[in-house]
Protein backbone atom coordinates (compact mmCIF):
# COMPACT_ATOMS: atom_id res chain seq x y z
CA UNK A 1 0.00 0.00 0.00
CA UNK A 2 1.18 3.49 -0.80
CA UNK A 3 1.87 5.11 2.59
CA UNK A 4 0.28 8.36 1.42
CA UNK A 5 -3.07 6.54 1.23
CA UNK A 6 -3.00 5.77 4.94
CA UNK A 7 -5.28 7.74 7.23
CA UNK A 8 -3.60 9.80 9.91
CA UNK A 9 -4.92 10.81 13.30
CA UNK A 10 -4.58 14.37 14.58
CA UNK A 11 -1.66 13.11 16.71
CA UNK A 12 0.43 11.87 13.76
CA UNK A 13 3.10 14.57 14.14
CA UNK A 14 3.31 13.91 17.90
CA UNK A 15 3.96 10.21 17.23
CA UNK A 16 6.79 11.11 14.85
CA UNK A 17 8.31 13.53 17.40
CA UNK A 18 8.17 10.82 20.08
CA UNK A 19 9.96 8.33 17.82
CA UNK A 20 6.95 6.08 17.40
CA UNK A 21 7.38 3.24 14.92
CA UNK A 22 4.50 3.74 12.50
CA UNK A 23 2.70 0.88 10.83
CA UNK A 24 -0.36 0.33 8.67
CA UNK A 25 -3.08 -0.71 11.10
CA UNK A 26 -6.23 -1.38 9.13
CA UNK A 27 -5.58 1.60 6.88
CA UNK A 28 -4.43 3.91 9.68
CA UNK A 29 -0.82 4.97 10.13
CA UNK A 30 -0.33 4.43 13.86
CA UNK A 31 2.57 3.70 16.23
CA UNK A 32 3.07 0.04 17.12
CA UNK A 33 5.62 1.09 19.75
CA UNK A 34 7.76 3.97 21.02
CA UNK A 35 10.29 2.82 23.65
CA UNK A 36 9.38 -0.89 23.33
CA UNK A 37 6.33 -3.06 23.96
CA UNK A 38 7.55 -4.43 27.28
CA UNK A 39 8.68 -1.06 28.63
CA UNK A 40 5.39 0.61 27.69
CA UNK A 41 3.34 -2.30 29.06
CA UNK A 42 5.08 -2.10 32.44
CA UNK A 43 4.73 1.70 32.57
CA UNK A 44 0.98 1.28 32.17
CA UNK A 45 0.81 -1.40 34.89
CA UNK A 46 2.90 0.58 37.40
CA UNK A 47 2.36 4.28 36.54
CA UNK A 48 0.49 5.46 33.44
CA UNK A 49 0.28 4.80 29.73
CA UNK A 50 -1.01 7.20 27.07
CA UNK A 51 -2.66 5.80 23.92
CA UNK A 52 -3.91 7.43 20.73
CA UNK A 53 -7.11 5.56 19.88
CA UNK A 54 -8.51 8.23 17.58
CA UNK A 55 -9.02 5.61 14.85
CA UNK A 56 -11.99 4.20 16.80
CA UNK A 57 -15.36 4.90 15.16
CA UNK A 58 -18.20 6.88 16.71
CA UNK A 59 -21.87 6.93 15.74
CA UNK A 60 -24.34 9.44 17.14
CA UNK A 61 -27.90 8.22 17.66
CA UNK A 62 -30.35 11.00 18.40
CA UNK A 63 -34.12 11.32 18.56
CA UNK A 64 -37.30 10.09 20.21
CA UNK A 65 -36.70 6.46 19.24
CA UNK A 66 -32.97 6.43 20.06
CA UNK A 67 -33.41 4.15 23.07
CA UNK A 68 -35.89 1.86 21.32
CA UNK A 69 -33.57 1.61 18.30
CA UNK A 70 -30.51 0.70 20.38
CA UNK A 71 -32.56 -1.72 22.51
CA UNK A 72 -33.40 -3.54 19.28
CA UNK A 73 -29.91 -3.25 17.79
CA UNK A 74 -27.54 -4.51 20.52
CA UNK A 75 -27.35 -7.38 23.03
CA UNK A 76 -27.19 -5.44 26.29
CA UNK A 77 -30.07 -3.46 27.78
CA UNK A 78 -29.60 0.25 27.04
CA UNK A 79 -32.83 1.07 28.89
CA UNK A 80 -30.88 0.34 32.09
CA UNK A 81 -28.37 3.15 31.63
CA UNK A 82 -28.98 6.68 32.85
CA UNK A 83 -27.49 9.86 31.39
CA UNK A 84 -23.75 9.84 32.13
CA UNK A 85 -23.45 6.07 32.03
CA UNK A 86 -21.70 3.83 29.52
CA UNK A 87 -22.45 0.20 28.68
CA UNK A 88 -20.52 -2.54 26.88
CA UNK A 89 -22.55 -4.41 24.30
CA UNK A 90 -22.40 -6.71 21.30
CA UNK A 91 -23.75 -6.11 17.80
CA UNK A 92 -25.02 -9.46 16.51
CA UNK A 93 -26.15 -10.91 13.21
CA UNK A 94 -29.57 -12.57 13.13
CA UNK A 95 -27.77 -15.94 13.50
CA UNK A 96 -26.00 -14.75 16.68
CA UNK A 97 -22.60 -14.26 15.00
CA UNK A 98 -20.73 -11.15 16.09
CA UNK A 99 -20.61 -8.03 13.89
CA UNK A 100 -18.70 -5.99 16.49
CA UNK A 101 -18.40 -5.18 20.17
CA UNK A 102 -19.02 -1.60 21.25
CA UNK A 103 -19.71 0.85 24.04
CA UNK A 104 -22.92 2.90 24.24
CA UNK A 105 -22.76 6.24 26.06
CA UNK A 106 -26.01 7.94 27.08
CA UNK A 107 -25.31 11.66 26.66
CA UNK A 108 -28.91 12.90 27.07
CA UNK A 109 -32.41 11.45 27.33
CA UNK A 110 -32.57 10.97 23.55
CA UNK A 111 -28.89 11.18 22.58
CA UNK A 112 -26.37 8.33 22.56
CA UNK A 113 -22.81 8.01 21.31
CA UNK A 114 -21.81 4.52 20.15
CA UNK A 115 -18.08 3.73 20.01
CA UNK A 116 -17.12 0.92 17.62
CA UNK A 117 -13.91 -0.71 16.37
CA UNK A 118 -12.04 1.32 13.76
CA UNK A 119 -11.88 -1.38 11.11
CA UNK A 120 -15.60 -2.09 11.51
CA UNK A 121 -16.90 1.47 11.38
CA UNK A 122 -18.21 1.39 7.80
CA UNK A 123 -19.64 -2.12 8.16
CA UNK A 124 -21.32 -1.28 11.49
CA UNK A 125 -22.76 1.98 10.22
CA UNK A 126 -24.21 0.28 7.13
CA UNK A 127 -25.74 -2.41 9.36
CA UNK A 128 -27.19 0.20 11.74
CA UNK A 129 -28.76 2.05 8.80
CA UNK A 130 -30.28 -1.18 7.53
CA UNK A 131 -31.82 -1.99 10.92
CA UNK A 132 -32.90 1.63 11.27
CA UNK A 133 -34.75 1.53 7.95
CA UNK A 134 -36.37 -1.83 8.67
CA UNK A 135 -38.68 -0.32 11.28
CA UNK A 136 -38.45 3.41 10.50
CA UNK A 137 -37.21 4.31 13.96
CA UNK A 138 -37.70 8.01 14.69
CA UNK A 139 -34.06 8.82 15.34
CA UNK A 140 -31.12 10.12 13.37
CA UNK A 141 -27.89 8.16 12.80
CA UNK A 142 -24.67 10.00 12.09
CA UNK A 143 -21.19 8.62 11.56
CA UNK A 144 -19.24 11.22 13.57
CA UNK A 145 -15.92 9.33 13.59
CA UNK A 146 -14.06 12.22 11.98
CA UNK A 147 -15.34 14.67 14.63
CA UNK A 148 -13.71 12.86 17.54
CA UNK A 149 -10.15 12.07 18.48
CA UNK A 150 -9.81 9.65 21.37
CA UNK A 151 -7.02 9.48 23.93
CA UNK A 152 -6.83 6.70 26.50
CA UNK A 153 -4.84 7.26 29.69
CA UNK A 154 -4.52 4.10 31.75
CA UNK A 155 -2.68 3.03 34.89
CA UNK A 156 -2.65 3.39 38.69
CA UNK A 157 -1.44 7.04 38.61
CA UNK A 158 -3.85 8.47 36.05
CA UNK A 159 -6.42 10.05 38.33
CA UNK A 160 -3.72 12.25 39.89
CA UNK A 161 -2.37 13.18 36.45
CA UNK A 162 -5.68 14.10 34.82
CA UNK A 163 -6.82 15.92 37.99
CA UNK A 164 -4.09 18.53 37.40
CA UNK A 165 -5.86 19.50 34.15
CA UNK A 166 -9.52 19.71 35.14
CA UNK A 167 -11.81 21.22 37.76
CA UNK A 168 -14.06 18.15 37.75
CA UNK A 169 -13.60 15.99 40.82
CA UNK A 170 -12.47 12.85 39.03
CA UNK A 171 -12.91 10.56 42.03
CA UNK A 172 -16.66 11.12 41.55
CA UNK A 173 -16.56 9.41 38.13
CA UNK A 174 -16.98 5.73 38.88
CA UNK A 175 -16.39 2.85 36.46
CA UNK A 176 -18.43 3.04 33.25
CA UNK A 177 -19.52 6.59 34.07
CA UNK A 178 -18.53 9.70 32.12
CA UNK A 179 -18.81 13.45 32.26
CA UNK A 180 -18.79 16.14 29.60
CA UNK A 181 -16.38 18.76 30.81
CA UNK A 182 -13.02 20.41 30.06
CA UNK A 183 -9.50 19.04 30.17
CA UNK A 184 -6.56 21.33 29.46
CA UNK A 185 -9.05 23.93 28.24
CA UNK A 186 -10.59 21.58 25.67
CA UNK A 187 -14.20 20.35 25.81
CA UNK A 188 -14.17 16.59 26.31
CA UNK A 189 -16.19 13.52 27.11
CA UNK A 190 -14.23 11.79 29.83
CA UNK A 191 -15.19 8.20 30.59
CA UNK A 192 -13.84 5.91 33.29
CA UNK A 193 -13.33 3.00 30.91
CA UNK A 194 -10.42 1.28 29.23
CA UNK A 195 -8.94 -1.73 27.52
CA UNK A 196 -5.97 -2.51 29.77
CA UNK A 197 -7.33 -3.85 33.06
CA UNK A 198 -6.06 -0.74 34.84
CA UNK A 199 -7.93 2.20 36.26
CA UNK A 200 -8.14 4.90 33.64
CA UNK A 201 -9.99 7.18 31.32
CA UNK A 202 -10.92 7.25 27.68
CA UNK A 203 -11.18 10.88 26.62
CA UNK A 204 -13.10 12.01 23.55
CA UNK A 205 -11.68 15.24 22.19
CA UNK A 206 -12.74 17.37 19.19
CA UNK A 207 -10.54 15.99 16.36
CA UNK A 208 -8.12 18.92 15.87
CA UNK A 209 -7.68 19.60 19.58
CA UNK A 210 -6.14 16.23 20.39
CA UNK A 211 -2.50 17.46 20.39
CA UNK A 212 -3.32 20.03 23.09
CA UNK A 213 -4.73 17.38 25.44
CA UNK A 214 -2.10 14.75 24.51
CA UNK A 215 0.83 17.10 25.19
CA UNK A 216 -0.69 18.37 28.44
CA UNK A 217 -1.17 14.82 29.70
CA UNK A 218 2.40 13.85 28.76
CA UNK A 219 3.78 16.94 30.49
CA UNK A 220 1.74 16.58 33.68
CA UNK A 221 2.30 12.83 33.66
CA UNK A 222 6.09 13.05 33.34
CA UNK A 223 6.77 13.26 37.11
CA UNK A 224 4.55 10.19 37.55
CA UNK A 225 6.39 8.14 34.92
CA UNK A 226 3.83 8.28 32.13
CA UNK A 227 4.85 6.77 28.78
CA UNK A 228 3.22 6.93 25.37
CA UNK A 229 2.10 3.41 24.42
CA UNK A 230 1.63 1.90 20.97
CA UNK A 231 -0.63 -0.76 19.54
CA UNK A 232 1.78 -3.49 20.66
CA UNK A 233 1.37 -2.72 24.36
CA UNK A 234 -2.34 -2.13 23.88
CA UNK A 235 -2.60 -5.72 22.65
CA UNK A 236 -0.49 -7.35 25.40
CA UNK A 237 -2.29 -5.33 28.11
CA UNK A 238 -5.73 -6.42 26.94
CA UNK A 239 -4.53 -10.00 26.51
CA UNK A 240 -3.34 -10.23 30.14
CA UNK A 241 -6.88 -9.39 31.25
CA UNK A 242 -8.50 -11.55 28.53
CA UNK A 243 -10.44 -8.71 26.95
CA UNK A 244 -11.55 -10.04 23.57
CA UNK A 245 -10.51 -8.34 20.33
CA UNK A 246 -12.65 -8.14 17.23
CA UNK A 247 -11.07 -10.15 14.42
CA UNK A 248 -9.43 -12.59 16.83
CA UNK A 249 -11.73 -13.72 19.67
CA UNK A 250 -14.81 -12.11 18.12
CA UNK A 251 -15.81 -12.81 14.50
CA UNK A 252 -18.92 -13.37 12.39
CA UNK A 253 -18.57 -17.12 13.09
CA UNK A 254 -18.31 -16.84 16.88
CA UNK A 255 -21.18 -15.93 19.18
CA UNK A 256 -21.04 -13.81 22.35
CA UNK A 257 -22.06 -16.70 24.63
CA UNK A 258 -19.10 -18.91 23.73
CA UNK A 259 -16.87 -15.82 23.81
CA UNK A 260 -17.69 -15.40 27.50
CA UNK A 261 -19.75 -12.26 26.93
CA UNK A 262 -23.02 -13.70 28.25
CA UNK A 263 -23.01 -10.99 30.93
CA UNK A 264 -23.56 -8.40 28.17
CA UNK A 265 -26.26 -10.43 26.41
CA UNK A 266 -29.70 -9.92 27.93
CA UNK A 267 -31.73 -12.79 26.53
CA UNK A 268 -34.61 -11.76 28.80
CA UNK A 269 -35.04 -8.59 26.72
CA UNK A 270 -38.23 -8.68 24.63
CA UNK A 271 -36.23 -8.44 21.44
CA UNK A 272 -32.88 -7.67 19.80
CA UNK A 273 -31.20 -8.78 16.60
CA UNK A 274 -29.79 -12.27 17.18
CA UNK A 275 -31.86 -13.00 20.30
CA UNK A 276 -33.81 -15.97 18.94
CA UNK A 277 -30.68 -17.63 17.57
CA UNK A 278 -28.76 -17.07 20.82
CA UNK A 279 -31.62 -18.56 22.89
CA UNK A 280 -31.46 -21.68 20.69
CA UNK A 281 -27.68 -21.83 20.98
CA UNK A 282 -27.93 -21.60 24.77
CA UNK A 283 -30.66 -24.24 25.01
CA UNK A 284 -28.69 -26.64 22.82
CA UNK A 285 -25.64 -26.15 25.05
CA UNK A 286 -22.46 -24.33 24.05
CA UNK A 287 -20.23 -26.36 21.72
CA UNK A 288 -17.03 -24.53 22.65
CA UNK A 289 -15.77 -21.94 25.09
CA UNK A 290 -13.16 -19.22 25.06
CA UNK A 291 -10.53 -20.11 27.67
CA UNK A 292 -7.27 -18.68 28.95
CA UNK A 293 -4.28 -21.00 29.15
CA UNK A 294 -0.66 -21.05 30.19
CA UNK A 295 2.11 -22.95 28.41
CA UNK A 296 3.78 -25.73 30.40
CA UNK A 297 6.70 -26.13 27.99
CA UNK A 298 8.87 -23.87 25.82
CA UNK A 299 6.95 -21.98 23.14
CA UNK A 300 4.61 -19.05 22.64
CA UNK A 301 1.05 -19.64 21.43
CA UNK A 302 0.04 -17.53 18.43
CA UNK A 303 -3.19 -16.78 16.57
CA UNK A 304 -4.35 -19.78 14.53
CA UNK A 305 -2.23 -22.47 16.20
CA UNK A 306 -4.18 -25.72 16.65
CA UNK A 307 -5.05 -27.29 20.00
CA UNK A 308 -5.06 -31.07 20.54
CA UNK A 309 -6.26 -33.20 23.46
CA UNK A 310 -3.60 -34.26 25.97
CA UNK A 311 -3.14 -37.59 24.19
CA UNK A 312 -2.38 -35.61 21.04
CA UNK A 313 -4.87 -37.56 18.95
CA UNK A 314 -7.79 -35.20 18.44
CA UNK A 315 -8.04 -31.54 17.48
CA UNK A 316 -10.10 -29.73 20.14
CA UNK A 317 -9.73 -26.05 19.30
CA UNK A 318 -7.52 -23.17 18.21
CA UNK A 319 -5.61 -20.19 19.58
CA UNK A 320 -7.13 -16.74 19.03
CA UNK A 321 -4.38 -14.65 20.70
CA UNK A 322 -1.12 -15.35 22.48
CA UNK A 323 2.06 -13.74 23.70
CA UNK A 324 4.66 -13.82 26.40
CA UNK A 325 3.25 -11.79 29.28
CA UNK A 326 5.55 -8.79 29.75
CA UNK A 327 4.58 -8.81 33.43
CA UNK A 328 5.01 -12.46 34.45
CA UNK A 329 7.15 -13.59 31.46
CA UNK A 330 4.85 -16.60 31.14
CA UNK A 331 3.65 -17.67 27.70
CA UNK A 332 -0.12 -17.20 27.76
CA UNK A 333 -2.92 -17.62 25.29
CA UNK A 334 -6.63 -17.35 24.66
CA UNK A 335 -8.48 -19.80 22.48
CA UNK A 336 -11.65 -21.68 21.69
CA UNK A 337 -11.81 -25.20 23.14
CA UNK A 338 -14.64 -27.70 22.69
CA UNK A 339 -16.90 -27.50 25.75
CA UNK A 340 -16.17 -30.94 27.31
CA UNK A 341 -12.42 -30.12 27.33
CA UNK A 342 -12.78 -26.51 28.49
CA UNK A 343 -12.79 -27.10 32.27
CA UNK A 344 -10.48 -25.21 34.62
CA UNK A 345 -7.18 -27.05 35.08
CA UNK A 346 -7.72 -29.15 31.95
CA UNK A 347 -4.56 -29.79 29.96
CA UNK A 348 -4.06 -29.98 26.20
CA UNK A 349 -1.36 -29.58 23.58
CA UNK A 350 -0.59 -26.57 21.42
CA UNK A 351 0.82 -27.32 17.98
CA UNK A 352 3.79 -24.98 17.52
CA UNK A 353 5.48 -25.62 14.19
CA UNK A 354 6.55 -29.30 14.28
CA UNK A 355 6.06 -29.70 18.03
CA UNK A 356 3.18 -30.29 20.43
CA UNK A 357 3.70 -28.35 23.65
CA UNK A 358 1.59 -28.95 26.81
CA UNK A 359 -0.64 -26.18 28.18
CA UNK A 360 -3.13 -25.85 31.03
CA UNK A 361 -6.38 -23.91 31.32
CA UNK A 362 -5.97 -21.33 34.09
CA UNK A 363 -8.28 -18.79 35.78
CA UNK A 364 -8.60 -15.47 33.98
CA UNK A 365 -7.93 -12.62 33.90
CA UNK A 366 -4.27 -13.68 33.91
CA UNK A 367 -3.59 -10.37 35.67
CA UNK A 368 -5.75 -8.63 38.22
CA UNK A 369 -4.86 -5.15 39.38
CA UNK A 370 -4.25 -4.75 43.11
CA UNK A 371 -7.37 -3.32 44.74
Amino acid sequence: MNPTNLKKTALFEEHKKLGGRLIDFGGWELPVQYSGVSDEHLACRTAAGLFDVSHMGEVLVEGGDAERFLYHLVSNDVSKIAIGMAQYSVLCQPDGGIIDDLIVYRRAEEKYLVCVNASNTEKDFAWMKKIHESERFACKLQNVSSDWSQIAIQGPKVEAIVQTLTRTKLSDIKGFRFIEDWIAGVPTITARTGYTGEDGFEIYVPWDEAPKVWCALLEKGAPFGIKPCGLGARDTLRLEVKYPLYGQELTSTTNPLEAGLGWAVKLEKSDFVGRDALIKIKEAGLKRRLVGFEMKGAGIPRTGYKLFDSAGTREIGFVTSGTQSPLTKKAIGIGYVEAPSAGMGNTFQVEIRANRIPAEIVPTPFYKRPS
Binding site: G36, S38, G232, G299, R302, Q324, K329, R353
Partner: protein, 128 residues
Protein backbone atom coordinates in the same frame (compact mmCIF):
# COMPACT_ATOMS: atom_id res chain seq x y z
CA UNK B 1 22.50 1.24 13.12
CA UNK B 2 25.66 -0.84 13.25
CA UNK B 3 27.06 -2.80 10.25
CA UNK B 4 30.43 -4.38 11.22
CA UNK B 5 32.69 -4.64 8.18
CA UNK B 6 34.12 -8.03 9.20
CA UNK B 7 30.70 -9.67 8.70
CA UNK B 8 28.75 -10.60 5.58
CA UNK B 9 24.98 -10.21 5.28
CA UNK B 10 21.76 -11.57 3.75
CA UNK B 11 18.54 -9.94 2.58
CA UNK B 12 16.82 -11.82 5.42
CA UNK B 13 18.77 -9.61 7.86
CA UNK B 14 21.18 -12.24 9.07
CA UNK B 15 24.93 -11.91 9.33
CA UNK B 16 27.58 -14.54 8.62
CA UNK B 17 31.13 -14.50 9.87
CA UNK B 18 33.27 -16.56 7.50
CA UNK B 19 36.35 -18.18 9.08
CA UNK B 20 37.73 -20.72 6.64
CA UNK B 21 35.21 -23.50 6.43
CA UNK B 22 33.27 -22.41 9.50
CA UNK B 23 30.46 -19.87 9.34
CA UNK B 24 28.98 -18.22 12.45
CA UNK B 25 25.42 -16.96 11.96
CA UNK B 26 23.30 -14.37 13.74
CA UNK B 27 20.65 -11.70 13.14
CA UNK B 28 21.59 -8.11 12.38
CA UNK B 29 21.23 -4.99 14.49
CA UNK B 30 18.55 -3.86 12.05
CA UNK B 31 16.67 -7.16 12.55
CA UNK B 32 16.68 -6.97 16.35
CA UNK B 33 15.60 -3.34 16.25
CA UNK B 34 12.74 -4.10 13.85
CA UNK B 35 11.58 -7.06 15.93
CA UNK B 36 11.62 -5.23 19.25
CA UNK B 37 11.75 -7.11 22.56
CA UNK B 38 12.89 -10.64 21.65
CA UNK B 39 11.50 -13.25 24.04
CA UNK B 40 11.96 -16.65 22.39
CA UNK B 41 14.51 -18.40 20.18
CA UNK B 42 14.31 -21.88 18.66
CA UNK B 43 17.45 -23.34 17.07
CA UNK B 44 18.30 -26.66 15.34
CA UNK B 45 20.21 -29.57 16.87
CA UNK B 46 23.91 -30.05 16.27
CA UNK B 47 24.47 -32.28 13.27
CA UNK B 48 21.54 -31.06 11.21
CA UNK B 49 22.28 -30.56 7.53
CA UNK B 50 21.00 -27.24 6.16
CA UNK B 51 20.55 -26.16 2.56
CA UNK B 52 20.92 -22.48 1.69
CA UNK B 53 17.54 -20.75 2.15
CA UNK B 54 16.12 -23.50 4.38
CA UNK B 55 14.31 -22.51 7.59
CA UNK B 56 16.45 -23.49 10.57
CA UNK B 57 14.68 -21.88 13.51
CA UNK B 58 12.66 -18.92 14.73
CA UNK B 59 13.11 -15.71 16.66
CA UNK B 60 10.00 -14.36 18.41
CA UNK B 61 9.33 -10.91 19.75
CA UNK B 62 6.39 -10.19 22.06
CA UNK B 63 4.31 -9.49 18.96
CA UNK B 64 5.55 -11.70 16.16
CA UNK B 65 7.32 -14.83 14.91
CA UNK B 66 10.19 -14.54 12.40
CA UNK B 67 11.77 -17.49 10.60
CA UNK B 68 15.53 -17.90 10.36
CA UNK B 69 16.98 -18.97 6.99
CA UNK B 70 20.28 -20.76 6.38
CA UNK B 71 22.55 -18.25 4.57
CA UNK B 72 24.79 -21.08 3.27
CA UNK B 73 24.69 -24.85 2.83
CA UNK B 74 26.36 -26.90 5.56
CA UNK B 75 26.13 -28.84 8.78
CA UNK B 76 25.31 -27.35 12.20
CA UNK B 77 28.37 -27.82 14.44
CA UNK B 78 27.52 -25.50 17.36
CA UNK B 79 24.44 -23.84 18.88
CA UNK B 80 24.54 -20.85 21.23
CA UNK B 81 22.62 -21.99 24.32
CA UNK B 82 23.17 -18.59 25.96
CA UNK B 83 20.96 -16.95 23.33
CA UNK B 84 18.28 -19.64 23.73
CA UNK B 85 18.19 -19.27 27.52
CA UNK B 86 18.33 -15.45 27.38
CA UNK B 87 16.74 -14.24 24.10
CA UNK B 88 16.98 -10.55 25.10
CA UNK B 89 20.73 -10.91 24.50
CA UNK B 90 19.77 -10.57 20.81
CA UNK B 91 18.55 -7.02 21.48
CA UNK B 92 21.71 -6.09 23.35
CA UNK B 93 24.54 -7.83 21.48
CA UNK B 94 23.26 -9.15 18.13
CA UNK B 95 26.59 -9.13 16.26
CA UNK B 96 28.74 -11.00 18.79
CA UNK B 97 27.52 -12.47 22.09
CA UNK B 98 24.12 -13.45 20.72
CA UNK B 99 25.33 -15.47 17.72
CA UNK B 100 22.90 -18.30 16.90
CA UNK B 101 24.64 -21.26 15.24
CA UNK B 102 27.92 -22.28 13.60
CA UNK B 103 27.84 -24.15 10.31
CA UNK B 104 30.54 -26.19 8.65
CA UNK B 105 30.35 -25.42 4.93
CA UNK B 106 29.57 -28.35 2.66
CA UNK B 107 28.96 -26.20 -0.44
CA UNK B 108 31.43 -23.29 -0.45
CA UNK B 109 29.82 -21.84 -3.57
CA UNK B 110 26.82 -20.78 -1.48
CA UNK B 111 28.90 -18.06 0.25
CA UNK B 112 28.80 -16.16 -3.06
CA UNK B 113 25.25 -15.01 -2.16
CA UNK B 114 26.43 -13.06 0.88
CA UNK B 115 26.62 -9.25 0.81
CA UNK B 116 29.37 -6.96 2.04
CA UNK B 117 28.51 -4.50 4.84
CA UNK B 118 28.25 -1.50 2.50
CA UNK B 119 25.84 -3.29 0.20
CA UNK B 120 23.70 -4.49 3.10
CA UNK B 121 23.52 -1.04 4.72
CA UNK B 122 22.43 0.38 1.34
CA UNK B 123 19.78 -2.38 1.17
CA UNK B 124 18.48 -1.46 4.65
CA UNK B 125 18.27 2.18 3.52
CA UNK B 126 15.93 1.16 0.69
CA UNK B 127 13.52 -0.32 3.24
CA UNK B 128 13.01 2.97 5.08
Amino acid sequence: MNFPANLKYTKDHEWAKVEGNQITIGITDHAQSALGDIVFVELPKIGRELKVGETFGVVESIKAVSDLYAPVTGKVVAVNDATVSEPSLLNRDPHAGAWLIKIELTDPATTANLMEAAKYSAFVETLK
